[in-house]
C-alpha cells in the first residue's frame, strides 16, 4: 500500500510518500526523523494531540484550556472529547496540572494558570 500524505509535525508541511507492506515500511520526502516517524504512524496507527477546555466551577465564566500530554489514537478523539466536556475543575489550576488521569495511555493536563 502506498499513500501520499502531508507531514503535520511542523509548519514546513513536507509531502511524504509512505509505503506499507506488512512489516516493512518506507517513507520518502521527509526532512527530519520526526517526519519519518509521523509517516509510519499515520499509516499504521494515526495519533493526534487533542486540545480543549474545561469549566472552572469556582470562578465566574472561566474556562481552563487543556491538552493531552501525548497524542492519542485518532479513533478515540470523540470519546475523549465527551469525557472532557463532562469534567469540571476548581481553581487554582497551574499549567501542567493533571485534569483527567490515565485516559488512552496519557493524561489530560492544564495549559493555562487560573489563580
Amino acid at each position: 500500500m502506498e499513500r501520499n500524505i502531508t507531514c503535520i509535525i511542523c509548519p514546513r508541511g513536507c509531502s511524504l510518500t509512505v509505503t506499507v507492506d506488512g512489516e516493512n515500511t518506507k517513507v520518502i520526502g521527509h526532512s527530519c526523523p520526526k517526519g519519518e516517524k509521523y509517516g509510519i504512524d499515520e499509516c499504521v496507527n494515526p495519533v493526534r494531540t487533542v486540545t480543549s477546555i474545561v469549566r472552572v466551577t469556582n470562578r465566574e465564566d472561566t474556562m481552563v484550556s487543556v491538552k493531552t500530554a501525548d497524542p492519542i489514537p485518532k479513533a478515540e478523539i470523540f470519546d475523549l472529547m465527551k469525557l472532557i466536556r463532562e469534567t469540571t475543575v476548581e481553581a487554582p489550576v497551574k499549567i501542567g496540572d493533571i485534569i483527567i488521569e490515565n485516559v488512552y495511555g496519557t493524561n489530560v493536563i492544564a495549559t493555562k494558570d487560573i489563580k
Partner: protein
C-alpha cells in the same frame, strides 16, 4: 508627565518578546501598556498546539507559549499597565493612554509598536442579506468558545481558509458541531498545509476553492447561506449558486494591522503590508519609534513574531543606551513573483540582514535572487513557495556592501 526609556504598546507575543530582549540588552526602564486584564494577547484564546517548535524547540499551546514569555517579563520586573488603552502617539514619542486612574502621559526615548491585528468583518465583504445572529468573525467565535465556554452554533459554514478559519473548523467539530464547508474565494488556501490536513481532512470537512458566500438568509438567527463559485475575476457564477442550511457563519477573511496610532504619529505606512515602513532594526521612518509583530506584517507563526520583536527590542535598547549612527541607506523592493519585502529599507550594511517576503501566488520549485543593479547579493532555492508561507533570505554583510542601489528580490520557476 511620566518618563520612561522604552514604552511598548501592546502586551501580546510581540510586546512581551520585545520587552524581554530590550531588558536583556541593558535597557531596564521599560513599561508595557496593554488594554486587556492580562498579557499574552491573542495567544490566550489559541488553545490549539503547534506553537514554539522553532523558537523554543517544543510544541506548546497558545496559552503555554504566552506563559513562557509572561514569566520572563515577571522575572525581570518589567512594569505592565493592564486595562490601559493607548489613545494617542506623537512623532516626538509622547504616549497618551487611558485607564481606571484617568489619563496617563508618558514621554519615551523609544516606543515599540506591538498592537497586532484586528479581523476584517462582514461589513468589508458586501454580502447581501439581513443582520441575523450567528455571523461571527472567526477570532470572536474562538474567544467566545475557548475563553468563555460559549458554544457559538451547531451547524456552520466558514468563509475563508486562512489558519484561523481552519483551526475553528476543527474546534467546532470537536465540540460536536457540524461544519458543512469551508469556502475560499481564491483558487488556493491561505492556510498552512498542515492545518488543511489536521483540521479539515481529519474531520471530513470539504474545502471549496474559488467559492464564496454571496447571500445570508435568516431574520433573527442565521438560517442558511448561499454559496457560489467565482470566475477568474472573482465574480459569482450565477448557475453555481446553492443553498446550505446553517445557524453559524464564521468569517476568516483577513487581518488588518491596527495602525491607527502609527498614522497618528505621522509614520509612513507600506500600502502592501499595511504596516509601517521599517529598516532592518524595525525602526520606522520616525526616529525612535519601532514596530514588530502582526502590526508590522501579518505572520504565519508566533515563533517568527517573537524573533522580529527581539530585533525591535534590542534595537530600541541600543538606541536608548548608545545612540546609533547609520550608514548609507538603500531601499528594498519586490521584483517578479514577490508581493513585498520587509524591511523596506536597509540603514546599515555592516551586519548580515534577513529579508522577509511573500510570493504573489503558489509556485512549484523556485529560485529567489536578491540583486542590486547587476550585482547578485544572494540566491535561495525552495522546493515550493506559497503566499501563506513567509520566506526568509539572509544577505551577508560582505555582499550588502556591494549594494549601491535598490535591493530587489525576485523569483523564477525552475
Amino acid at each position: 508627565m511620566l518618563e520612561h526609556d522604552i514604552v511598548i504598546i501592546g502586551g501580546g507575543p510581540a510586546g512581551m518578546a520585545a520587552a524581554v530582549a530590550a531588558w536583556d540588552k541593558g535597557a531596564t526602564d521599560i513599561v508595557i501598556l496593554d488594554r486587556d486584564d492580562d498579557i499574552g494577547g491573542i495567544l490566550r484564546q489559541c488553545i490549539h498546539n503547534g506553537f514554539g517548535l522553532h523558537k523554543l524547540g517544543r510544541e506548546l499551546t497558545g496559552p503555554e507559549y504566552a506563559a513562557v514569555y509572561k514569566k520572563k517579563v515577571e522575572e525581570r520586573h518589567i512594569k505592565v499597565y493592564y486595562e490601559t488603552m493607548v489613545t494617542d502617539l506623537t512623532a516626538d514619542r509622547v504616549v497618551t493612554a487611558s485607564n481606571r486612574d484617568g489619563i496617563l502621559k508618558i514621554k519615551a526615548k523609544a516606543v515599540i509598536l506591538a498592537m497586532g491585528c484586528r479581523e476584517r468583518s462582514r461589513g468589508a465583504l458586501n454580502i447581501s442579506g439581513k443582520r441575523p445572529a450567528g455571523v461571527y468573525s472567526a477570532g470572536t467565535a474562538q474567544k467566545l468558545m475557548n475563553c468563555e465556554g460559549y458554544m457559538v452554533g451547531k451547524r456552520a459554514v466558514i468563509l475563508g481558509s486562512g489558519d484561523i478559519g481552519l483551526i475553528m473548523a476543527r474546534r467546532m467539530s470537536l465540540e460536536g458541531a457540524k461544519v458543512e464547508a469551508v469556502c475560499e474565494l481564491m483558487p488556493y488556501s491561505g492556510g498552512l498545509t498542515r492545518n488543511i490536513v489536521q483540521c479539515l481532512e481529519d474531520f471530513n470537512i470539504p474545502l471549496y476553492l474559488s467559492t464564496t458566500v454571496c447571500e445570508i438568509h435568516g431574520d433573527r438567527r442565521l438560517e442558511g447561506v448561499t454559496i457560489a463559485e467565482v470566475d477568474e475575476n472573482r465574480r459569482v457564477i450565477e448557475e453555481t449558486k446553492r443553498y446550505i442550511p446553517c445557524d453559524t457563519l464564521l468569517l476568516s477573511v483577513g487581518l488588518i494591522p491596527e495602525n491607527e496610532l502609527t498614522r497618528a504619529a505621522g509614520i509612513p505606512i507600506d500600502p502592501i503590508t499595511n504596516g509601517a515602513i521599517v529598516d532592518e532594526h524595525r525602526e520606522t521612518e520616525v526616529k525612535g519609534i519601532f514596530a514588530c509583530g502582526n502590526v508590522l506584517q501579518v505572520h504565519d507563526l508566533v515563533d517568527y513574531v517573537s524573533d522580529e520583536a527581539e530585533i525591535a527590542g534590542m534595537s530600541a535598547a541600543e538606541l536608548v543606551l548608545n545612540g546609533r549612527t547609520d550608514g548609507t541607506a538603500v531601499n528594498t523592493a519586490a521584483g517578479n513573483g514577490v508581493r513585498y519585502v520587509l524591511p523596506q529599507r536597509i540603514s546599515n550594511t555592516d551586519s548580515d540582514v534577513a529579508l522577509f517576503m511573500r510570493v504573489v501566488k503558489p509556485f512549484g520549485k523556485v529560485r529567489f535572487t536578491v540583486k542590486s543593479g547587476d550585482e547578485v547579493l544572494a540566491t535561495a532555492v525552495r522546493i515550493k513557495a506559497a503566499p501563506g508561507e513567509m520566506e526568509k533570505i539572509v544577505v551577508k554583510s560582505s555582499k550588502l556592501a556591494l549594494a549601491k542601489d535598490t535591493v530587489t528580490v525576485s523569483l523564477e520557476e525552475i
